[in-house]
Amino acid sequence: MFTPAVVFNALELGCIYSLVALALFLSFRVLNIADLTTNGAFTLGCAVSATAAVAGHPFLGFFLAMAAGAAAGGITALLQTRMGVPSILAGIITDTGLYTVNLAVMGFSSNVSMLKTATAFTLLRDVMGEQSPYKLLLAGAVTLLACVLLIAFLGTRLGLSIRATGDNPDMVRASSINTAFTIMVGLCISNSLTALSGAVLAQYQRSADINLGNSMVVIGLASLIIGETILGTAHRSSIWLKAAAAVAGSVIYRFIIALALRAHVPAESLKLISAVIVALAIAAPALKAHYDFRRARAKAQAALEKAEGGRG
């Protein structure tokens, strides 16, 4: 069923997309904000990284993409903290504006091809050789570094303040931490991670496309929730475990997609499959609660009937 090539491919993509899951962990779980900037920020990362690689700076492209993503997150944060735009709408507004920005970054073309361009991946291949797992090494190293830095940051004074902002805004305001500032920093970091994911993906597949970021927020959330459900971290407090769950969920999600493709599911139907996976994953806790309640009720009813039968 799974050839080594398929396994490596799923691991590589899982690592790359796990940065989006980490970003959503920060915005959706830590800050409690559904940040729809994600789609546009992902494409922005692709566009910036591709344009930089074509210009001969593949590694610089990663950092430029992160800076661009942070700027996009900053605009969303500004809209919702300083201008009273509801958070979901703020993300949609930025996302809409980014469509034009992304086209502009790619020279008003809807795609950029890097088939003849040196990318971070081809540079590493030239050093390590064609047979080495250079793709997985690069993707894994970027993800690991991002994970470690994010976790270290969340233990600092600013990081703890950001976590408290999503956890108990009342307390944060009472202890006079500026929530507008902590939300701003949080969204800048999460969108720079999303953009980095797009940046690595563009160079990995040697092309950037204006539609690459479509439904990225749904895919990222699905990965995050799959990871949380399987590792059971929803009610744990260890930040390490939670970050690991985001990465694991992303890899598992890619294996599910690979499995679907191997089962000769037509590629056009993948969006529908993704949507079903997401809906089921997000609905899982509610469905489980409903099922548990029905089972408990049936059990109580059986006990009651037994007691009544005994009396009669």
Binding site: T156, R163, G166, N168, M171, A174
Partner: protein, 269 residues
Amino acid sequence: MLYLKNVTKTFNPGTVNEKLALNNISLHLAPGDFATIVGSNGAGKSTLFNAITGDFIPDAGTVTLNGRDITLIPDYRRAKVIGRMFQDPLRGTAPGMTIEENLALAYLRASGHTSPLSRITARERAQFAERLAELGLGLEDRMKQPVGLLSGGQRQALTLLMATVVTPKLLLLDEHTAALDPATADKVLALTRRIVAEHKLTCLMITHNMHDALSFGNRTLMMDSGRIVLDVAGTEREKMTVDDLLDRFAESAGHALDNDRILLSREEG
């Protein structure tokens, strides 16, 4: 230490809801003073705290802390030296973060760490465990657990520790045990007494319990309609009973105290 001079505040001036919340209040706390405050609902007790922490700028008068005029200093800059606790145990802690992380946040915010990227050291972590052990609630073994798992009393004890983990210049307690069951409230109050004494904190405590008002600290203030109508200390206070206090209140305020909770607490003891 703390000087309030002729502080006045009117809410909603010029409307039907106009309310004179603080009426020309003057108060001086010496270093190490621990004063309790009692008064009926709407007497201005919490508003007095808000004036000290900087929730609003008074219409008239000045607030001076440690020789520095802080009347116009924004609230977030005062919060570094003023610790404050509320009635609601859910208000002072972050439930999804661990005990250790909550303490770290309180510590890093108030201590000398100026960099936003500063972290707590292993030594500071050990100090947290020591301070937690002093609470006698077994929390030192649960430092990695989320605060949301703690009971209201444990959370309030933790909030007290967070407010004093870096010794504040002034501690404001706003009926911080009113939402707890009597046994837990007694525990947190005993803890309050000990921590205030140990660190020689200057402290103001709002309470609705007349016995606590007399037995805690070295001064008792009674408030009515935005004024401090009674301020007793020393031997006069030591000899005072709850009934004396109520009589004195009626004498100074011109009417009897009308707070049910306070009058009920009189029956308890």
